[in-house]
Symmetry: C2
Subunit: 164 residues, 2 copies
């Protein structure tokens, strides 16, 4: 349990009453650092993907579609942690570029099965090259073991918030 009073870094000048700032809380402080890094990399990736005419959201979707071909829009939405309407708006962009194929499920007329086209896979490979190059660059001072440890932390978090 987090103890609110425990992490006080500044004093109120007027009354010397502690101003609680959780900046000494290692979990909080480092989480904030992570948010910043994620944002910075996101901006860099965004620019790096521009020549391929791809947005990050589109790339995320394509990565998922490659790993789980034939999944429904509902499945994809859950994996990407977005709403279904988001997927509805996202897919036409990929479809008109010929990167994606949608087939109505035969048994269940409500669901659409999603597949990358060959062209989609080719584009994905180009994008992954850009993506991995960027990640390798920014993480090249960190060992694979450190990355694994960080990834384990993150997977535990995702698992813990799974129910929501």
């Amino acid at each position: 349990m987090f103890n609110y009073e425990q992490y006080c870094t500044r004093m109120n000048k007027k009354q010397d009453v502690p101003k609680p700032l959780p900046w000494d809380n290692p979990r909080f402080k480092n989480w904030v650092a992570m948010m910043r890094a994620e944002k910075a990399v996101g901006r860099a990736l965004s620019r790096a993907l521009a020549p391929l005419d791809l947005k990050i959201a589109q790339l995320d979707a394509m990565i998922n579609l490659y790993r789980h071909p034939g999944q429904s829009q509902h499945d994809l939405a859950r994996r990407l942690l977005v709403g279904r309407s988001n997927i509805t708006m996202l897919l036409p962009q990929l479809e008109t570029q010929g990167l994606l194929r949608r087939e109505g499920d035969r048994k269940d007329k409500r669901v659409m099965r999603l597949y990358l086209t060959d062209e989609g896979e080719k584009k994905l490979m180009q994008a992954l090259e850009v993506y991995t190059a960027l990640i390798d660059r920014v993480l090249n001072q960190s060992t694979p073991e450190q990355c694994d440890m960080m990834g384990d932390m993150m997977r535990r978090i995702t698992e813990m918030l799974k129910e929501d």
Copy 2:
């Protein structure tokens, strides 16, 4: 330098030509895990802040304003890694709630100096309690040392992308 052919996890059934998937690249794989965790926590935080009538972007701004009182909108934009127009649109929300005070700089008539009001600081403390409670919960299986190590990785990344 990233070696494209090094990370191949799946074979193409038709031709047995390796399909390059960087899933075995520890840096890439764990980065993706981080993106997911960050999104999951973001959604949880968003809901947790709703009773306080605060958005995450607003909280981020308030945290920065608390740590760097009197900074300009330009400074705030750079710290938050967003454009200046974003700040222009964000601040009125805080100002009309009485959480923020803007003063024109005396020497430079272009810049606005930003300060949290007392009410703003009070609201911030409430929000931080919610925030730290969530972070402590999702990271409570990770030791402070692990969190510090992760934070160091992240600060190196942010530093590396500073120039952009």
